[in-house]
Assembly symmetry: D2
Homo-oligomer: 404 residues x 4
């Protein structure tokens, strides 16, 4: 029998804060009640703050981030439209597959799984696209499979410098609300995420930020869709409602999680993710291992994909962690299967939780045959997390004097 906390360090679903769990324990209610907008209108407003958009709007579709990928495409593009995408991990790969399946003509730039979005290559292609055949550029802001964060602002610059009019799609599933994201400033037209990552909720709602330009595109495009229709959703949202029954318990949870996010402040949230991620990366270095991400500038503050040593199967690491230590780590996806394991370090997290993940990973690596010195990763992370002694002692002394 398993006892104790089921440690959860996958890059989503993430750990739900207690206050958010509380908020979701609600009886059912009438989603057409006259005062339903008292709940929803504030959500629509505050989501815009998190997405950093004033001109756009954020819609929530029951489903998942994947559903919102589809919503973004089917509402704004036309069958056969040419789009530019990069493949550098499992999620960018899946997005490409979806785009093809939905009938787009996808120009894929393949780079190493561990690389970022190839901005220079994008710039070149966009520059050559004299006739504006490319209708959209897709960017996976944070490739969850490899732990790589790409620079969306640079892609925007590439578009601008090419005087290119393509829509800018961003997959922010594992970045928005954790890592710096600026919808308006970066000129993002469609920004997709879901509830189960930085928003610290269960899965069940996808979110999509839509720029005025994207809304305009939606008015005249010809792809078929109904459930994911922007116009229907926007029209109902404007009055505080949804075109069909929304998962009201998640909306209540979202209210509380937005309260927490606004309370902490996005800058502080980002800095916290950065600090915690730095500790995890220090642990990886302490073990003598390497990240999948090719360069420090690409390191993701929400998830680290860690390459196991030759001769070790990453699946064994994950299996030991799960079976023996009641801990879920992320697996290597697609071509990385067996080669990396992932630690998700996003959402409602603190130092102790990261050290838990690190110390379990340490034992699991060892059990899977890696030459790991116990405590080596933990100690490296502690160096990052520890409060400087001098300051703590001083502060405690001051507190004691004040109390006396």
């Amino acid at each position: 029998m398993k006892t104790g906390t089921q440690h959860l360090y996958i890059p989503g679903p993430t750990n739900v804060p207690e206050a958010v769990r509380q908020a979701m324990i609600v009886p059912m209610q009438d989603h057409r009640a006259p005062d339903f907008g008292d709940l929803t209108m504030g959500l629509f407003r505050d989501l815009k703050t998190i997405f950093k958009t004033e001109t756009g709007r954020v819609m929530m579709f029951p489903g998942s981030g994947t559903g919102c990928w589809e919503a973004a495409i089917t509402n704004t593009l036309n069958p056969g439209d040419k789009v530019l995408m990069a493949r550098h991990g499992q999620f960018s790969h899946l997005w490409i597959e979806m785009a093809k399946k939905l009938g787009l003509d996808v120009e894929v730039v393949d780079v190493a799984w561990g690389a970022g979005v190839p901005v220079n290559e994008f710039a070149r292609i966009l520059g050559n696209d004299r006739h504006g055949k490319i209708k959209a550029v897709f960017v996976t802001h944070n490739e969850t499979a490899t732990g790589v964060t790409s620079d969306v602002a640079l892609v925007r610059r590439a578009l601008d410098e090419a005087f290119h009019d393509a829509l800018l799609f961003v997959d922010g599933v594992s970045s928005i609300a954790c890592i710096d994201f600026r919808m308006d400033e970066w000129g993002v037209d469609l920004a997709v995420t879901g509830t189960q990552k930085g928003f610290m909720l269960p899965a069940g709602l996808g979110m999509v930020g839509v720029s005025p330009k994207a809304m305009a595109a939606a008015e005249k495009n010809t792809m078929k869709r109904c459930f994911f229709d922007f116009a229907d959703m926007a029209k109902m949202n404007d009055t505080g409602y949804f075109p069909y029954t929304p998962p009201t318990q998640l909306l209540h949870g979202l209210r509380k999680s937005l309260d927490r996010m606004l309370d902490e402040g996005q800058d502080v949230t980002h800095a916290r993710h950065r600090r915690l991620a730095t500790g995890v990366r220090a642990a990886v270095a302490g073990w003598g291992l390497e990240l999948c991400a090719e360069h420090p500038s690409l390191y993701s503050d929400t998830v680290s994909a860690i390459r196991v040593p030759a001769g070790v199967d990453a699946r064994d690491v994950i299996k030991v962690a799960y079976d023996r230590y009641n801990c879920s780590l992320g697996s290597g996806l697609g071509q990385l299967n067996g080669k990396v394991f992932r630690i998700g370090h996003l959402g409602d997290l603190n130092e102790g939780m990261c050290l838990t993940a690190i110390s379990i990973a340490e034992m699991s690596l060892a059990a899977a045959g890696a030459q790991i010195r116990f405590g080596s990763g933990v100690a490296a992370a502690q160096e990052v997390y520890a409060e400087p002694v001098a300051r703590a002692v001083q502060r405690n002394a001051a507190a004691r004097i004040a109390a006396e």
Copy 2:
């Protein structure tokens, strides 16, 4: 300030049983964990029991019943396909609108809102369709807007007698799990429902039962879809997983609600719905009012749409119930707005709850100007619900003797 229970008598979301609420209070978990199938495989199996299908399968899509309407269409039909549908209420109307929006050629048979599916007219049309142009027939099993249950078996017979090969689509959103429904026996190819009605869960998952014939159609059709793709879902489901993050808390809730449903037994559940509905209908007669449903054979056991007297605005009834008595009643939709109010009597219900709804409706009708004698509806319902005195007295006496 409102106090006490928020009485909920809309036809969905329905009241969630306490045991199901408990079951949903779970921490997040890894939906790719090796033992995740321990949870999901049993769900897939038991859903088949509820849908009464052995040859088909039941898939769950994050989203809602509306999403599954779309899934049913986009997976099995082709652009421009001709389909046969009846419009006799708001939900059949919305389904027609969706079908058109998704590019189908819809032959609409309009009948009164309050009538059932026009089986004879369907039979005539199908009989005339010598070349099999009609690819699908759509039936709204229970028109939630009018409280009308149509006879799916008769539509099947019409198809068979015309030797017609069209797929049979059934909207069972407010019928499945409450009213007799037999997917295999009636030859239903696509049966759609959601979690927030008879399954006694929050909204968040749509369900679609798919016959082998429909699965075969899905293999060769050309409509675009990705999130709602049957093949992707079926492939993952076969191993216990989903193609994207499912709302795991709802899956745990579903486990418990299926346990309850199997425990009660579908026949008993149907009889309970019948008995409770009979009481509500007796109350309506007691008030001297009429149902929207045109004929007793059409009366729905899950929802009653009640016509208010001339001079009374049904919206006032609903408003008083909500503002003054903390009770949500269903409103009149579309052309019935202001003319009917609805009492949902489905899901986890008992006699006391129905009497609550009736007694509040009684006061709300009066407040809205209807000539209603207080207690008239309640008494009529009580006649239905009350245990025969003789039996109760006898039983209690026996219990006392046994105890002494």
Copy 3:
């Protein structure tokens, strides 16, 4: 299998509001943490508001109201002390038994079960007690077994007019927070209640309001106690803590229930209880039955004890309600067993809930053999609860005009 709401109309535990249930779903925490007082100090403060005391304090003891009865006695009285008590129902009876068991010399005034505290007789006895032998007078403010509210202010006047120095003990278990209660104004020295009645929480904490005079008595009394010691509790409470581990989840629930109580305002709460109780009493009259309380001036606004007709066993009423209608009614206690059943109408309640109780009681009475006309009680209550038609119609019309 039972389905639907388990209707709860006993006079405690009462229905817990959803917001309070949410608030109690907390992980465990350190009850000695430095910031624990952030939670507790506000509770101590707001309890004083509810008890209406500025000079006294309110302590919470893990346990129940019964425990606080004992705390009140053992902290302020001495072995063999003479005390004055009336017996007019099961709870005053039990309190007398406790007082005897704890070694007090109890002068019992027996009156009918259904009568109030015999103030005149108390006045006479106190007047005759020239040497102040009587150390305390005990008043059961609301006798839960009979549905009788006694007049505490009159007892205070009797004490004052006799220039008597005895401590005034009040059992306010089923009155405080529901019915007008004024600790300071009425000169109450020890006021006892628990969490599971007007405070709308689960059982688990007793509360006792203690006047400065009672605290002074506690300093020099000689009865043995430790767990229930006022001095230990007061000393720890002053710093925000408890002498032993308190049930922290209840403290969080209490925070929320106090918030609701302060939000509604005690006057409004009392008026609500009055209005709802009036409806229940109208129903009893509608049935042609009588209350146990002897006179309208004694009618309790929190619980009604209803006498069944001759030849009917009240236990059958309760049994049918429980077995057949999933509804808990209160039973007749002690000498009233079989002769009355009780409807608790206190705490988080509204009109619809009272009508539920009434309609179920109606069917249960009939099943137990009483000659009851269905709807007769419900209609009488509806007359009390219904909004005047004219006003409602007018208001709705105005709202429509405003909206147009």
Copy 4:
């Protein structure tokens, strides 16, 4: 703003398992309902299994373990009775204080805080007590303040060898359900515990195991008590009820926690506590620090009290852990204040959780000025917790071969 898990490593309240939390989210119910015994009778039965008594009974009193200390005394002893007790920590000290306050004549044997119960001294005193003046011997099985487990069986032997008839009282608050405890075999007459330790529930119920000899003593003793009366409680329990309203939500939680305990099996539970405690002790050694417990034979498997180095204030360690790392550690109580901090390692725990506590303690010690090498404690614990590499690799290989 604090984020993430509030890490809880005090020796109670302990972490509540998710399944137990779920089970406590119940609506209120009638504690006098005819089927209430369906819940309670199984609890009474299974508690006997955990206490390892067949001849005795286990009663639950709303309140806490402290309340049950009092219940044990007031039900079985008489005013002025002589009892034998040892003081070797804060909780044995408090029990002595209570015994004195309740009027007992306490012979206190003072030993070092960190020593166990002085069995030899007890044996000597009992041997000299020719006239059986000593009516009871009190043993603190696990002194929570010092992390010392004493040998109850040896005390029983001392009693037997002296042919002494005194009652044997055991404080098992932080031992029962975690550490080997055998009520019948060790001839324990009164065994006290509470819900918030090994039973993995919130505080709110005390439990006391009572031997037939203690029940017999209760029949003729003369101490005053009412709320804590054994006879009243036993009489009601025999029918499945309580003499006053019990906290029903805790009873439902207890059902689930007993299920878990019986599922795991007490032997396995004890071994798990032993293994986890061994890791924590290895960490302490790794830091070069010492336990408060004087000898390995006294080491508690539920809590470790750790002496900080000279010059370091243990309060600083605790303060840093709380303020900076969101972690509650236990403080030094009484004379140990500032000298030790405590890690509670009992209840629903696993390796990862212990490593969390250790790694946070490590950083907190350092911040408080201790010379601690980061990772030193963690590594030592990992050596205890880690699965042998050879076995893991082998097992994983086998699993892969089987899967292929």
